[in-house]
Amino acid sequence: MTQNTPISLRNRNRRRWLIESGCLAAVGLIGLSRKSQAAGSKIRVGMTPAFLHDQHKLLREWSDYMAASLQRPVEFIQRDSYRETMDLLRLEKLEFAWICDYPFLHLKQEVRLLAVPLYRGRPYYSSYLIVRKDNTRVNSIGDLAGSVFAYADPYSNTGYLSPRYHIRQVGRDPATFFRKTFFTWSHRKVVEAVASGLAHGGAVDSYIWDTLAHVEPALAARTRVVWRSAEYGFPPFVSHHSVAADQFQLMQRHLLDMSRNDAGRRLLEHMYLDGFIVGSPALYDGVAHMMRAFGET
């Protein structure tokens, strides 16, 4: 695969041309030399709101752990919306990122699948449709017609794409189905919006809601899941194409090995994850299908 070719950041345009020319070996040599230059530089990892955003302490521990393991300084960069993280990736201000499956497909040309987390032993998650606990009137998406609805992020699968696809499947137009919709820019805040009564319903990442039920049971208990979507591939770790192959492998190895040592296991436990696998882009075919349904490629 051409995508596996190690390429330096500055030579991206040239890289395209080289890929097309098939001069893989030469490029590989150049990439290796660039990589060795970058040996002591900082690794920048983007964290999207897919992850439980508030756990700053956990992120600090993870970045320390990652830095110790890779013997390189690591910086975790958080942004408030998927869009910003995606922009950072496009602008090559991140080497790696943990992003949602939907942005992954958007960025397919720029990033490479690095690893997929295992949640409850499997690399899958789904979308929950939630309403307030005391709202017993709503039992399906159809009951929410004409109400106020909270989406997580326009680049979220489970928080935007999947519920809209579901509305379309029941034969309605998601653009006019609700009286009003708004974005909270994070899954966790969707739960808050629904719990506070601001929105009558919301779409949320199953991993986030389930984890919240452990981390903040009081908040999660104020909402109720009325519909669960089909399973989608879990939000993956990706690397930018410009990341050198050895760096890619080092990082991949690091993630895959996390479940094999105590410190890693402890971190995974805190994130309610079981580990990482290499994964395959085919995991995300379901999302690609929905995107096509909305005319996106």
Partner: protein, 493 residues
Amino acid sequence: MRWLFNLSFRHKIPLWTSFLIGFSILVVSAALMTRAYDDMKRAVVISADNLAHTLANTVAPTLLHDDTWRAFEIVRSPLRAELARTPVQVDAVVVLGRDLKVFVSSEPDTLPMLSEAATLGDDWKQLSAQLSAPKATTWPLVLEPDNSSYLYLALPVTDKDAQLGHMVLRYSKSVFHPWFIDTIWQALGIGLLVLAVLIPINWYWGGRMATPLVDLAQRMGMMPAAVPQPLPPDLYPYDDELGQMFKAYDRMVLALRDKAALENQMVKSERLAAIGQLTAGIAHEINNPLAGLITSVDTLRLQRDLDPRALRHLDLVDRGLTQIRDTVAALLVQTRVQARPLNQHDLEDIHTLIQPQVAKRRIRLDWSAAMPAELPAPASLVRQILINLLLNAVQAAAEDGHVSLWLGRKDDSGSCLSMVVRNDGTLLDEEQLAHLFEPFASTRSGGHGLGLWVTYQIVTQLEGRIAARNIDGQVEFVVNLPLGETSCSTASA
């Protein structure tokens, strides 16, 4: 109600002042509390205005971008947990769009978004009517609807010149009340504390002022019937009108007492003078025939042929007539005798003469006679006065008792000889004092009751004064005799 005004000053002064203190505290507290309530409301409005400005500026971009969630986070930010319920704690924050529909509110349950403000109840109806008025009032708009437990403050949300909507803050007045009641309790506590301090002071001071007044009123109430006692000197030792009144009262009482004493003295003197005149008249009327009778008896006795029986009767008549003459002579005090001046030997004689009686009754005698060699006083009369008084004193004194004599010039004036005789016998009562110097007014059995009468007559004829009184548990007789032409002013020692 009249009984209240008839109360004694002892109660009226403390009651009135207590009432006034309580009333003042109440009025001042009420004024302060009203002020506190207004201040609290003003503080709420100022705080609300600041908050509304900040929120309006922050929320403006979210209105522009229709970012409901950010707007929600902004309007929720000033709301705190239940614990921090202070009057300046905002109760709800609402952003109204240009169309006066709720864009977002901190209370989505009761103030849901997209609802028309006018449909949210009477308060909001009034508010939206005021907000939609063509010429809006000055900002901030503060609205306190009647029969509402809320206070509202509204500001426009603007971006540059364009008005995007309104920011409305709602404050719960029910939060005011417990806070205000706290203030009331505090004020009440301080008031009670002040009362607790002031009331005892006030009762003390009122009592202090009323006691002399009450005392005075009681004494003055006795007035026509009797002369009251003067007030105790330390009762009210101040110089204000009350003090001046007490002093005037004291002066009046003293004047009245002097007057009464003078009247008393005059009555006594007049009575004694009348008795003296009567006695002298009777004595003369008796003396004239008596002299003839005595002469006749003497003549009869000279006859030789009298039988022994007649002679015996004649002797009897003679003795009877002699006794009458002696008695009448005693009543008729004669002071115009030879006027030998008094000297020290006279006093020594008197001392010697009374010794047997003194010794017999084992009396302790104090003898204090400051006597120059000679004094221009009639010696025999002074001797008689002193012997009378001293023998009386020795008789009146208790067994093993005490008698004293003081003799000297009164007040060292030189014009007056003063003699003071005291004994520690039974004190004289009022009745005895009133009739002491009358004839046959003896205070003890065995006396003929003429001793003091004679003494009084001698002193009066010498233009002196004699007085008796009880002093320091003793009976005192004071005699003042003028030495020369000037008279002695008063009988008292």
